[in-house]
């Protein structure tokens, strides 16, 4: 792990100077605000857009705070993850393809340190983004609908952040293994298509985000919860391990 602090500094500088620490959390914040707001003002919006037939009235379901947080997490799961995927899928593969990695790989650097430094910095961005997204959603939900219980809310947040760690590990592993195009396709399949498996089972990593919400609703079957948590952590560690091995193996893919 020689050189970790130096590589961390490099990754941090890149993320900071390309505004990633700012713009990605802002996007998550907007995503978090949108569902509580639009749902609350749905009737007004429908009336404003107009052309509703006389006497037309739809009965909107009564929402509890957990419903809105769940909707916000749904936004993070679609647009949020797409933003993370698009922003970081080239982290390793693009550096190889454009030749910037050459001057680093030619030194006897530790690939573990290099991979981990990227993982840590992106995870930090993921953390700030999750905080921003949750804070925005919870703020509007509290103002417009009602309060959360702080304990389960925090548990839900931590659960979601751990899921994000897996997403980031998968993105980096794909980037270490393939060129950017194939990596993007691969990561997309694993992260998004895998979510269909949650229809069948509750104990897979893809169930973790919704399992977090079930904690708030106090409807989680805890054995499934811990299984999904355990598998997520395992998959994350495995992804990181494969990523480091492949990054080293693909040294000769650098443009010289």
């Amino acid at each position: 792990m020689r050189g970790l602090p130096i590589l961390l500094q490099k990754e941090f500088r890149e993320a900071w100077r390309s505004w990633k620490f700012l713009w990605i959390p802002l996007v998550f914040a907007i995503l978090g605000m949108s569902d509580p707001l639009t749902n609350y003002y749905m009737m007004d919006i429908l009336h404003a857009v107009g052309n509703l037939p006389e006497g037309f009235d739809i009965q909107l379901p009564e929402f509890v705070p957990a419903d809105l947080l769940q909707a916000s997490i749904g936004q993070f799961q679609m647009i949020g993850l797409l933003v993370l995927l698009a922003s970081f899928i080239g982290s390793i593969s693009k550096e190889r393809a454009n030749g910037t990695a050459t001057l680093l790989y030619v030194r006897s650097i530790s690939f573990s340190a290099y991979f981990i430094s990227k993982f840590l910095v992106i995870s930090a961005i993921g953390f700030v983004s999750a905080v921003a997204g949750f804070a925005a959603s919870v703020y509007y939900t509290t103002v417009l609908y009602g309060n959360f219980e702080i304990g389960t809310l925090l548990a839900c947040f931590v659960t979601y952040f751990i899921w994000l760690l897996l997403v980031i590990a998968v993105i980096l592993m794909m980037s270490a293994t393939f060129n950017t195009m194939i990596a993007a396709t691969g990561a997309f399949i694993v992260i998004f298509i895998g979510q269909f498996l949650t229809i069948l089972w509750d104990f897979l990593p893809w169930s973790l985000p919704s399992n977090g919400v079930l904690l708030i609703r106090d409807m989680m079957y805890m054995q499934d919860y811990w299984w999904s948590m355990f598998m997520t952590v395992m998959f994350t560690i495995i992804s990181i391990a494969i990523g480091i091995v492949m990054m080293k193996k693909n040294t000769s893919m650098v443009k010289i």
Partner: protein, 67 residues
């Protein structure tokens, strides 16, 4: 019209507007500082200003040119 505007709960949606504005301004500042973009800069100004939330996102993901 004025009546309609007055009915909008500004106190509630102000944070959303502020965050959107900050995102837009950050994108514009970066666009001004950056050396080259993928595609003409003026096009990105328009996208950032008028494509709402998507504009700044698109700019940061595909507009910025590194190296």
């Amino acid at each position: 019209m004025m009546e309609e505007l007055a009915k909008i709960p500004w106190a509630v949606i102000a944070p959303l507007i502020v965050v959107q504005l900050v995102l837009m301004i950050v994108a514009l500042i970066d666009l001004r500082r950056i050396h080259t973009t993928n595609g003409p800069k003026i096009l990105w100004v328009l996208i950032i200003l008028f494509a709402n939330l998507l504009g700044p996102i698109l700019y940061f993901i595909i507009g910025r040119k590194q190296s």
